[in-house]
């Protein structure tokens, strides 16, 4: 197994980590799987594409998460809050429909073609890693994911808001009785979750290209990561993201024709062994 192959897995896992953290946060607080998360990621990528020309890659990396954070807030105010007393299945179905609407609107605006996004000039080409040339841009994605993971962990573990998020995820009614403003917290979590999807989309744009099926393509792996990690657990999702990313990429080296089954084998295997997922009911 070469270092390049391992890094490929880590890079893909890193992208999944960023995206799934947002979904896990939203699920943990709201108790609903947001099936429009793939569409939000896609929105982030298209916003990045649109912004790169005027603002450069770094500007796009700031604008995309801001726009998708606003979309997340709109989702909270327009869908989750009005429907919070409906069944989770119903709300999930609504988000599924929303995903289709968002993706269709994106295609109507930007068209069906695959859109190229160049990464930043300073990250073009390869750098030597243990004697192997490896794309600098992929190393940047890994580094970004590591910083985000640490930042999210510290925020959830050490800050007052993080404490409130963890408490509300475990018992929303008790948290509200104890004085936590659950409504404001939900807005914040949706904004952060959306922003993480936006960051993932902006990072993916030079990595995968920007194209109409990118939201659907990433949704299933992200859902599997969240379920395997422990529904609502950010730390579990991060672990599962790396396991899946590395496993799938290395599987492509050794047995590409069966590697497509890996995510499904993983989710079945983990849930049979540990029905609450890797992290169980822990939030971080």
């Amino acid at each position: 197994m070469s270092i390049a192959n391992l890094l490929n897995g880590v890079a893909f896992g890193a992208l999944l980590l960023i995206l799934s953290s947002g979904l896990a946060l939203i699920y943990g607080l709201r108790g609903v799987i947001n099936f429009s998360h793939g569409a939000l990621y896609m929105l982030g990528a298209y916003v990045a594409y649109q912004s790169v020309g005027a603002l450069g890659f770094w500007g796009a990396l700031v604008v995309a998460p801001l726009v998708v954070a606003v979309a997340g807030v709109a989702l909270e105010l327009g869908v989750f809050r009005p429907l919070e007393h409906r069944s989770h299945v119903e709300v999930g179905l609504v988000t599924f429909g929303l995903a289709m609407i968002i993706e269709r609107v994106i295609v109507l605006i930007w068209g069906e073609d695959t859109l190229p996004v160049e990464g930043p000039g300073g990250l073009a080409g390869t750098v030597s890693v243990f004697g192997s040339g490896y794309p600098a841009y992929r190393l940047f994605i890994i580094a970004t994911a590591a910083v985000m993971a640490v930042g999210l962990f510290v925020w959830l573990q050490r800050s007052r808001t993080g404490l409130h998020i963890r408490a509300t995820s475990q018992d929303p009614e008790m948290a509200e009785i104890l004085g936590v403003n659950v409504s404001r917290l939900s807005l914040l979590v949706m904004a952060v979750g959306g922003a993480l999807a936006g960051v993932a989309g902006a990072l993916a744009a030079p990595y995968f290209s920007v194209q109409p099926s990118m939201g659907q393509a990433i949704l299933i792996p992200v859902l599997i990561v969240v379920v395997v990690g422990g529904v609502g657990s950010v730390g579990g999702a991060m672990t599962a993201a790396l396991v899946l990313g590395i496993g799938q990429t290395l599987g492509n080296v050794w047995a590409p024709s069966v590697t497509v089954l890996l995510p499904y084998v993983l989710v079945i295997g983990v849930l049979l062994w540990r029905p609450t997922g890797i992290a169980g009911k822990r939030v971080v």
């Binding site: 490929n8 695959t114 995968f208």
Partner: protein, 414 residues
């Protein structure tokens, strides 16, 4: 008590009702005319064509351009009074590109919309699923995209005709140029479905015939978002030549990511199959400079039909046509000729004239080979060159069908 008289109605009245219902049903069936219509097709009956392209996924862009080309051809011929006075009517039904959905859509188009001709299907698996159903639908399939050899081999069908070069023809075009390329040890990167596996096998044979060797073959599922692990294997293969067969979005992802890995710098020769076409020139830019590519069609082809087509197309759309658009326009022209020769839109009549089709076209003189329903047309091989800020074809070589496929596939039994 007799069961017919449970509610007190007389048996005679009930029998009359049943007879009336039976007559009404038979009359309705006769009016519908059964699947795909029957009879010889009256002189003013329109030519109804159902296009079934994918609405999304890897081939969405080809689907859109397929519809564009057919509508262009239909508008052109309708403006001139139709084919023998018959109007051409196009219905486009988009699907998710899966074989099951395509077959369902085709059946619906034939039974409900009265289509007699089906086109616009992009992939070989879809065509393979539909072909056996065609006789029961009483419809003809006009294949302008799916290249897998068995479609005019062991899977051939009397109701299906292929107008695009099959894999063997296209690789034949590549094979004739292999001896001129510096690479001798080849790695193959192909899409993991029927056409990809066929082209990999054909390319391997061509390499071995030219005195080279294939040192690695790998297949990536469709779609593949991250080609990283495949690229890493290619870098470690020891090959000095690379053959790539990927489609649409996957092709673009492979080229982008290969560039990030500096993959292409490590090969003396790169041959791409179905990867590069004119609409993607701007997307690819310098990344594919120096590649060699199969070319189904080039707008520069020098014949009067092509000159007229390219001019009309450019006047309408502001750009030169590329192979998807040209192949579908060519298919439409062939259909119109066959209908005109048949004097009918009845599929069996049109099939009979289509089998003997011979005409001058935008790709030069073409002939339908009756033994396997594969159109005989040239293949092309060209270099890709980035000059003056844009990508273009360089040094286009034409390889005639007599060289790429001198005989029909013996596995085809029509």
């Amino acid at each position: 008590m007799n069961r017919f008289t449970r509610d007190g109605s007389s048996p005679r009245r009930v029998r009359r009702c049943i007879a009336l219902l039976a007559v009404t049903a038979m009359a309705t069936l006769a009016a519908c005319g059964g699947a795909g219509g029957s009879g010889s097709g009256s002189g003013d009956e329109p030519i109804k064509i159902a296009l079934i392209p994918p609405s999304g996924g890897v081939f969405a862009i080809y689907g859109r351009d397929t519809i564009k080309a057919w509508e262009f051809a239909a508008d052109e011929v309708n403006a001139a009074g139709g084919v023998d006075g018959r109007k051409v009517e196009i219905t486009a039904v988009e699907t998710d590109g899966t074989p099951a959905a395509t077959v369902r859509a085709a059946r619906r188009a034939v039974t409900q919309d009265g289509a007699r001709f089906i086109g616009g299907i992009i992939t070989s698996p879809e065509v393979a699923a539909l072909q056996p159903q065609l006789p029961s639908m009483n419809a003809l399939l006009l294949n302008s995209s799916a290249v897998d050899d068995p479609l005019t081999g062991e899977q051939c069908n009397a109701n299906a005709f292929r107008f695009v070069q099959n894999t063997r023809m296209a690789i034949g075009g590549v094979a004739s140029s292999l001896k001129d390329l510096p690479a001798k040890k080849w790695a193959i990167m192909a899409v993991d479905y029927s056409a990809g596996r066929t082209s990999a096998k054909a390319f391997t044979k061509a390499v071995e015939a030219s005195g080279g060797e294939v040192v690695m073959t790998q297949f990536a599922p469709q779609p593949t978002a991250d080609f990283g692990s495949f690229i890493t294997k290619l870098q470690g293969s020891g090959a000095d030549g690379l053959y790539v067969h990927e489609n649409g979005v996957d092709a673009q992802a492979f080229v982008n990511q290969g560039t990030q890995f500096n993959l292409f710098d490590s090969f003396k020769s790169i041959v791409s199959f179905k990867v590069i076409n004119e609409p993607l020139f701007e997307t690819f830019g310098q990344k594919v400079d120096g590649f060699n590519a199969d070319l189904g069609y080039a707008h520069q082809l020098d014949n009067p039909e092509n000159a007229a087509f390219v001019k009309a197309w450019k006047d309408e759309f502001g750009s030169d046509p590329y192979h998807v658009e040209a192949d579908n326009y060519l298919t439409a022209q062939a259909l119109f000729k066959a209908v005109e020769d048949a004097g009918s839109v009845e599929p069996k009549d049109v099939a009979a004239t289509m089998e003997k089709l011979s005409m001058d076209s935008i790709v030069g003189p073409i002939e339908m080979r009756g033994a396997d329903h594969q159109l005989q047309r040239s293949s092309y091989f060209a270099g890709v060159k980035f000059a003056d800020g844009q990508l273009g074809w360089d040094d286009i070589t034409e390889i005639p069908a007599s060289q790429t496929t001198p005989t029909a596939d013996p596995a085809c039994k029509l």
